[in-house]
Symmetry: C2
Subunit: 327 residues, 2 copies
DNA sequence: ACTCTATGCGAAATCGATTTCATGATCAAC
DNA sequence: GTTGATCATGAAATCGATTTCGCATAGAGT
């Protein structure tokens, strides 16, 4: 690859002038022409590494997420990418598998690669952001909080859990279970709290804890606890799934048991983009994951540009999509 | 962030020695201790940008794919990530949306950021790799060829299409359609060719072109052409879907029409990780996407390490998973 | 005892861009 | 016509690591 020096020599100017041409600083028309010409001839592309080293900032943002195989997060990623790309930034997608150690590694890399900023769906609320804050890199939290006072975009989880449950109540179900993710993950906990509030009000004689299951936010987790629920002496007649993958797992198990929804009512907090049930027999509270990504990316870009207003938290609401009777 | 100079000063050695300590070059025990001590005190992390500039190579590899929202590619990404991460590399995930222009931009970035190599699922077979080859960066093709003589990992697409179709024949279906991706994408074309071979042999009186539909590799594409097929004067009694998303779209439409498989036979080339049909009424030819990622990453790492044997192509076979009778 | 090699280590060059600083030219104002 | 401001431009410093080069010391070989 040609360097700025070679371009300078061919154009008969100094390297400084070449740099100025490419950065929009005032240069006489004739030199601009000469430089552009030389650059074209040599197929010059500025070396981003050198530029980053000198400017102490790169046009790369890190998106750190716990599970790249979850469509919820890829949809989020998609939103981030669209905004970033338009602004001339590229996105490094970092998959942590919910492991704090992997997450810490990626955050270190973000620092030592001088990345412009980080969008983080934290593996846990004990994630340590001291170093990256000390490095002055902006961080925007998505989906979950971080324990730091930083910008964030989250879903209205409690409301979503509530809406899902209420809809099942309206549909006539009387014994509504809930399966959700790890208790330590706030999204899992809050959605369950939404469910709990409705159940406690509507069915005061039911012991909520019997019908509540914490699991992983994965398909196999959903399968496992759904089996447990069905094996109860008095099984539920409906279930609220705390995220998309749990929903998939639960529905799989139900189908295996001949309890295809709506025989047993199912409401999912999240979307099922690849479901083959259609028109859906399942109630969804669709979460605007892509919109979350877009919002977070915009906020991050503002911070990168130097905005230092107090930290903001944006809360996005899910949208109830009621089950239609199966066709 | 502390620099190597500050560490050197605190440890009472030269910056060169600090560098040597961190790169495993011979240094006396006492100086090693002093340097490590100083580094710990200052929380020193080497600046990767400076290192990349000097070494002309970074520990980052680019994974360029056409659709990050397709679980097939995220599974692939997962395989790449696992291998890369273990080898100390991080992965930049670049989503091209099958647009040559976006793809070209990302390839330029890979060059100008001195990335160690690229794993590429090309947007089209006209992708231009001249620049990146001139830059001496290794490229491994995945899923699809590139028109260049480089390492690659592909699926046995024709065989997969054939296996899917043959299974439908064995299951008694007589009028088997095929929906696949854009004709210009070799995976789409080859899978259709597999289908065509079987149909031509088994049902010589059928005009294959009437039952073959090229579309996009997306859910809406599958929906659209499935509707078309059902509207035929003489509709098919089974269909082969050329990838996972087409399969999802097709099954959605079938469900809407009350033709839930196996009423109308469905075989999909690919996996349906988030399907809610279970035990599946759908025949799958599962493609080892993750394995493809692992293989490609290993090949790339070998090239990065300097291996210059002739280009290799690895072909992976799908695995037939017959539909079980619905429970 | 006298080379000869090996080894540890610091000084300085290097990677390729950006940016500061100094210089000379141009032009307006009084 | 002198002063001052503005502007284009080049030389050189800078970002922070790695690496070459050369020197000094230590140990091996004859």
């Amino acid at each position: 690859m040609a360097t700025i020096y070679e371009v300078a020599k061919l154009a008969g100017v100094s390297p400084a002038t070449v740099s100025r041409v490419f950065n929009g600083v005032a240069v006489s028309d004739e030199k601009v022409a000469a430089v552009r010409d030389a650059a074209r001839q040599l197929k010059f592309t500025p070396n981003r590494t050198a530029r980053t080293l000198r400017k102490q900032e790169s046009e790369v943002i890190a998106l750190v997420i716990p599970d790249i195989e979850n469509p919820y997060f890829t949809e989020l990623a998609r939103g981030v990418e669209d905004v970033a790309q338009k602004a001339g930034y590229s996105v490094v997608l970092c998959n942590t598998d919910s492991q704090l150690e992997k997450e810490a590694t990626y955050l270190q890399i973000a620092i030592s690669e001088h990345m412009a900023g980080v969008i983080l769906a934290a593996a846990s609320d004990t994630t340590n952001l001291d170093d990256i804050q000390a490095a002055g890199r902006p961080v925007v939290a998505v989906d979950r909080g971080t324990g730091y006072d930083i910008d964030g975009v989250v879903m209205a989880n409690r409301t979503a859990g509530q809406a899902a449950t209420e809809h099942l109540v309206r549909a006539g179900y009387r014994r509504i279970a809930c399966i959700t993710g790890p208790q330590l993950i706030e999204t899992a906990y809050e959605r369950a709290q939404g469910w709990r509030a409705v159940v406690a009000r509507q069915f005061p004689d039911v012991d909520p804890d019997e019908l509540l299951r914490y699991s992983t936010f994965r398909v196999d987790g959903g399968r496992e606890v759904m089996e447990e629920l069905l094996a109860l002496p008095e099984p539920p007649d409906a279930v609220v799934a705390g995220n998309n993958l749990l929903g998939v797992g639960a529905i799989q198990v139900l189908t295996e048991h001949g309890l295809t929804p709506p025989k047993l009512g199912v409401a999912v907090v999240g979307s099922l983009p690849f479901t083959t049930l259609s028109p859906s027999a399942v109630t969804l509270v669709r979460l605007p994951a892509r919109h979350m990504g877009v919002t977070a990316a915009k906020m991050l870009l503002e911070r990168i540009a130097g905005d230092d207003q107090p930290a903001r938290t944006v809360v996005l609401r899910g949208e109830l999509q009621p089950a239609r009777a199966a066709g």
